[in-house]
């Protein structure tokens, strides 16, 4: 349904998207997970036709977005990161307007608008102006405007940024409804837990490049059973490295992900069992630990493993 092949987008010397390829199927949610500035929105903008790719190919429902842009866009729905509403028009008129923009007419339009109002939970506020709505209600209406024409491919660009937990849960339900109705959903986020909950498959993107791709289960398997152990304190440079390397005889999969004078990030299996040995080794090397944080394997750990930095940095 959505095919992206070797997509490149350059701005002068800056390569915002670098050789990105993925495929998302109908009835699934494909996630693009990455920190701010990783290239997620640029990728979505290339798909939606807002940006012209420097190289590569994008096909929506079999239509090339460059060569056959109008047909491709007919199958697309977009829920932008920032609100895209007429706050001085009633909610129902917003839905009608965007429905007409995608070619809906007459009773088909009215029926669909009524359905979407129910879906987003604004049927009783249909004639109210969005400027009187809460942030969560505006987000839901923003979502409704993107799906009013029942797109085959739905692009969701960080739809939950700045949304309260209750509205976020409602938006998750809406995304799942679209997936269950057969839409192909591309969902960008920098929230690991959102990706884990919603996405059938995903790609982790950083500095414009995809650094890992697969189902959530496949990606977690890349980690094995390794935990991420974050230590803060004082860590003399070479002595600490040597001491940790010395532990490899007992802890085979121990690996230093990153090291600084005041922090140390390690991955290893069953980390909690090995903590005394690690503390002793660091102490023996002249260092000390003031704070410890242990995370079990998840996508955030994988991102740490792959990039050496936090997802939200």
């Amino acid at each position: 349904m959505l095919v992206v092949e070797q997509l490149v987008k350059e701005y002068g010397d800056l390569t915002a998207v670098d050789d990105v390829s993925f495929e998302a199927r109908a009835g699934t949610v494909f996630g693009l997970l990455g920190p701010n500035g990783a290239g997620k929105s640029t990728t979505i903008n290339c798909i939606s036709g807002l940006l012209t790719p420097t190289a590569g190919r994008i096909a929506v429902s079999g239509h090339d977005v460059i060569k056959d842009g109008t047909a491709a866009r007919r199958s697309l729905g977009i829920v932008p990161q920032e609100l895209a509403l007429y706050e001085d028009l009633p909610a129902v008129d917003n839905l009608r307007y965007w429905g007409k923009a995608y070619g809906l007419r007459g009773t088909a339009l009215e029926d669909r608008v009524a359905t979407v109002l129910e879906l987003i939970g604004l049927a009783d506020r249909a004639k109210d102006l969005p400027k009187e709505f809460s942030g969560g209600m505006k987000r839901r209406l923003n979502f409704g405007c993107g799906v009013v024409h029942q797109p085959k491919v739905l692009l969701l660009d960080e739809p939950t940024v700045g949304v309260d937990p209750q509205s976020r849960a409602k938006l998750f339900d809406l995304v799942e409804t679209e997936r269950n109705s057969g839409a192909c959903v591309l969902y960008t986020t920098h929230y690991m837990e959102e990706a884990e909950r919603l996405c059938d498959s995903l790609a982790i993107i950083d500095h414009g490049k995809i650094i890992a791709q697969g189902t959530v289960a496949e990606l977690k398997a890349q980690l094995g059973a390794r935990d991420a152990l974050q230590l803060n304190g004082q860590f003399p440079d070479s002595a600490t490295s040597e001491a940790i390397e010395g532990l490899r005889e007992d802890i085979a999969d121990l690996e230093i992900l990153s090291q600084a004078e005041d922090s140390l990030l390690l991955t290893l299996s069953a980390a909690s069992h090995h903590l005394p040995k690690i503390f002793a080794a660091i102490s023996g090397a002249g260092g000390n630990v003031t704070e410890t944080s242990l995370r079990s394997p998840n996508l955030e750990t994988l991102f740490l493993l792959l990039t050496g930095k936090e997802l939200r940095e």
């Binding site: 807002l50 028009l89 923009a101």
Partner: protein, 409 residues
Amino acid sequence: MSFLLASVRKDLARWAQDRTAVLIWLGIPFLIGGLITSMIDGGGGSPTGTLLIADEDDSLLSGFVVGAYSQEQLGELIIVEQVSAKEGEARINDGEASAFLTIPEGFQDALLNETPVTLTLKTNPSQTILPGIIQDVTEILLDAGFYLQRLLGPELRSITDAGFEGAPSDAFIAAISVDIQHKINRIIDKTDPMAIDLQIVGPPPAEPQPNYALLFLPGIILMAVLFASNSLAADYWIERDKGTLRRLVSAPGALTGFVAGKAIAAAAVMGVVTAVVLVVGFAYHGIVWSKFIPSLVWVSLGGVGLFAWLAALQMMFPNNRAANLVTTILLFPLLMAGGSFFPLAALPDWIANIGRLSPNGFIADRLTGELTSATTWSIDAQSWLTVVAITAGGLAVSVLRLRTGFARR
């Protein structure tokens, strides 16, 4: 078509909520136009001065002098007020009149007896033209009085000596008239000019010129239209900031309908603004109402052209503030050149010709022609085509700019 109508309705519904803007678009031109028109029309078209006269003699001849200032064209220039010497002195000192003439007691006797008499004329130094006119007229009157006394002194004396308490008898008037006629007959050969038949050939009669205030009306209308155009043109930036343009360019084939919808909505707004000013202008100047529709259509169409190009220009700038600032600054030379502050007809030809090349000047010039011509729908086809082409060009540039990056944020 459905999306086009939806776009029109959408923009009209949104713009209708901003009633303050409509009041400003109309208020400023009405204020300026009202001030200018009242300055031009307020005094009936000609400046007038006030002559205060203290007639202390209160005689037949002093009455002739007082009456002489109110005769024919002089009466249109000078308003004569009879006052006491004290009041006249106070008012001329306060600058409330152009001049103050005192006719002293004994004026008639002195004139008839050929004894010296002094009339005092005090003029207002803060005025230049009218006091001068009054002074010249007074000197001419005194000269005329001298010759009148020389010629008809006995007759005048007999009138004053008669001392009528009521109207003089018919016999007395007849006798005096006969005496005067005889004297005129005796001197007429010496005073009549030679019998030369002089034919004065003047220029052919010119078409009646419209009044100056009427010439202001097109400029005032275009001022309101320019304010409205510039304000509505900023709506593209508002939509961009709302993010709706991003959603729009992702929709298939919606861009043309969106821009056309804005143009039609803008035309409707221009129509309302123009209609209000036209109704007031037509009623004030007594213009025939058959010219209302062509004037309304012409200005509304031209207004959409101005809107289209101002919008295209605003979309060239990197941010909303710069766009707004530049087009607002641009409005003033356009208003100046286009005849909103000075009617093109009142400007030197070379300046007026430049003004007519400005978009609003072009529209105002043709509108002036429509309002002042003897026929309706007098604007030529070439002018209509020019405005249609310019409007279409502006809208095409707007679509292009939306496609080439303006919609991105």
